[in-house]
């Protein structure tokens, strides 16, 4: 018994020592992408005992800033790198697909909007639900703050890069947006698909050009409103070849067929679902 215990202790000690010498890869950025990347890190570390992957938050911009300056190895982000960051050598990897949908207060009397109607609502040309076939009720536009990744996606896909109307309600988080839409008659907003699915009893989904957002419609290419979750690396700052190897191995693992099936459970779609599309988002 004693010898076995001793052997176990020595083995554990060796493992700890081994872990201390392991390659550590640091990941920072988007809190939205955090959970799925953390899951990937756990699975990867199980398969590769020599690698430690530390995932922390901070926000999309923090992730991008840190990876640009070499403060972390991988920056995860909901938004695209700025031209300056691209010039500094930051390299993009799309790791998941994030579908977005329009939602509205259940009482507005509209089930679908054309692309033009949706654009006109958010740019302020249309201000009453009557003008798009609904009740005689003022449209209340609920959007995210200017620095939000969701807002950037919305501006690009729904508004085609035009400015938002001045008459808007702004909420800080998707949760607050959903609550606001659920409690404000005439409200319309734009959220990740999983938030509509979680709140079907409180808010109504609005189809875009007659197509409702779902995993299937995104996959078949009928539904065009989605964005990518990004992982950025800065190859110039990955000095140690061992670290470089670990980073590349981890990214390849996230993009592997097996792990991409896991992202479905977290509300994302595998990247290869939409590989055929060339939307730059």
């Amino acid at each position: 018994m004693k010898i076995r215990f001793l052997a176990q202790t020595i083995l554990a000690g060796l493992l700890v020592a081994g872990a201390a010498q392991a390659q550590t890869v640091t990941v920072m950025g988007s809190t939205a992408l955090g959970p799925i990347v953390k899951k990937a890190a756990e699975d990867y570390m199980k398969a590769h005992p020599g690698v430690q992957i530390a995932v922390s938050g901070g926000g999309s911009m923090t992730g991008l800033n840190q990876v640009t300056s070499g403060g972390c190895h991988i920056g995860i982000s909901d938004v695209f790198a700025t031209p300056d960051q691209e010039k500094a050598g930051v390299k993009n990897h799309n790791i998941v697909v994030q579908p977005f949908t329009l939602i509205a207060h259940p009482g507005v009397g509209v089930k679908s909007l054309s692309a033009q109607q949706a654009e006109q609502i958010f740019t302020g040309k249309v201000s009453n639900w009557q003008e798009v076939g609904g009740k005689n009720q003022k449209i209340v536009r609920v959007i995210r703050p200017e620095s939000s990744g969701t807002r950037a996606v919305q501006k690009k896909t729904i508004l085609h890069d035009q400015e938002f109307a001045k008459d808007v309600l702004i909420q800080d988080s998707t949760g607050a947006v959903v609550t606001s839409v659920a409690t404000t008659p005439g409200a319309i907003s734009f959220v990740e698909l999983e938030h509509l699915e979680k709140n079907k009893a409180r808010v109504a989904g609005i189809a875009y050009n007659g197509v409702a957002c779902s995993n299937e419609t995104v996959k078949s290419g009928k539904y065009p409103v989605f964005s990518y979750g990004h992982a950025y690396t800065n190859p110039a700052k990955l000095g140690d070849p061992k670290v470089k190897q670990a980073v590349e191995g981890f990214l390849a693992f996230i993009l592997s067929h097996d792990f991409q099936q896991n992202v479905l459970k977290a509300g994302y779609l595998p990247v290869d679902y939409v590989k055929s599309l060339k939307t730059k988002l």
Binding site: N65, G149, D172
Partner: protein, 348 residues
């Protein structure tokens, strides 16, 4: 340092240092009470404790100074070409005198936030100050003892409620209620509801401090007024409130300080629209003041809490947000200094 010998543990150190105090205490020592003496160990502990306290206070001062330095360098980076600043250098007028806030389009007027902060805080005070002071009079001068104790405890409890709770309550209960009852389902986000929520948040502070103010007045004031034939109301209005005025002002300013720095609760109900001034200008409403009360607006704190975590460090946008933080810090400092001033006026 007159060192006692090594062996002088408490019992043996009867002839140690501090002889003056010890001799003064000696009669009581003879009466069986141990003499007041410090052992070498105690003195050492004293010295270390002193160093410890000094270190703690230096740490606090250093932290506050550090935060101010950090805020100042980051905030002033918007206006000065400092090192590590990748953003554009702005002029004071295009930041402080412009109402046009569109950071993605390189326009950085923060007037809507300043006006928003002052507006919502002013409105909240209009509601909270009279309510708080009158409640203070009631608790201190009218309520029976059991009610006084109860009210005081309730007020202390209210101060401790996290602001996000007030915010959720406003978002899910007050906003829909106001919208349904008075606005024909139009959204109620804006100054009115935010000020109401803020008022509820700061009333306990004002009540506690004004209760103290009235309780500290000599009872002769009240008695004298009544002896001269004044009614209860006259005594309160003509004698007690004027006498307590400096401390009531302090209470109000402290409430004001809490209101102007509040971010979470306001952020959830105000609507956070930085374009509210432009929106007001375009509107052709017949009752602009009433409309302003229910127009989604934004304040310094709400904008900071929404945008600061998501902007790139060193960018113009980030710098201007830090400048807003610095402005808020300076406003709070002015309020604290004003409180000191008012507090001193009492003794004069």
């Amino acid at each position: 340092m007159p060192d006692a010998p090594e062996a002088s543990i408490p019992a043996a150190s009867q002839r140690g240092g501090y002889s003056a105090e010890a001799r003064m205490d000696s009669p009581s020592a003879e009466a069986g009470v141990p003499a007041f003496r410090h052992s070498r160990l105690q003195r050492l502990a004293d010295r270390w404790a002193r160093l410890g306290f000094l270190a703690c206070s230096l740490l606090v001062v250093g932290l506050i100074g550090g935060i101010l330095f950090f805020l100042a360098t980051r905030g002033l980076a918007a206006f000065l070409p400092l090192a590590g600043n990748t953003g554009r250098v702005l002029s004071f007028s295009e930041v402080f005198l412009s109402a046009d806030w569109a950071p993605s389009s390189d326009r950085f007027g923060i007037l809507p936030f300043i006006a928003g902060s002052l507006g919502v805080t002013g409105l909240a005070l209009l509601i909270a100050a009279p309510a708080g002071v009158l409640t203070g009079v009631f608790i201190a001068k009218m309520a029976p003892a059991w009610m006084r104790n109860l009210m005081r405890q309730v007020m202390d409890l209210l101060v401790g409620i996290p602001s996000v709770v007030y915010g959720i309550f406003g978002l899910t209960v007050v906003l829909p209620l106001v919208s349904r009852t008075w606005l024909e389902d139009a959204p109620a986000s804006g100054f009115a509801v935010s000020a109401l929520i803020l008022a509820v948040m700061i009333v306990p502070t004002i009540v506690s401090l004004s209760t103290d103010a009235f309780e500290s007045l000599p009872s002769s004031l009240d008695e004298g007024a009544q002896a001269l034939g004044s009614s209860r109301w006259q005594a309160i209005w003509r004698v007690l409130i004027p006498a307590a005025r400096p401390r009531l002002l302090t209470a109000t300013v402290l409430g004001l300080g809490r209101a102007i720095g509040e971010a979470m609760a306001v952020q959830m109900v105000i609507g956070n629209n930085p374009q509210w001034i432009a929106l007001m200008r375009e509107s052709t409403d017949r009752a602009p003041f009433l409309r302003a009360l229910f127009t989604p607006a934004a304040t310094l704190t709400t904008e900071l809490v929404q945008e600061l975590p998501n902007t790139a460090a060193g960018s113009t946008w980030n710098n201007v947000l830090f400048a807003m933080g610095l402005l808020l810090y300076l406003l709070t400092m002015v309020l604290i200094l004003a409180t000191r001033r008012l507090g001193r006026g009492r003794e004069a």
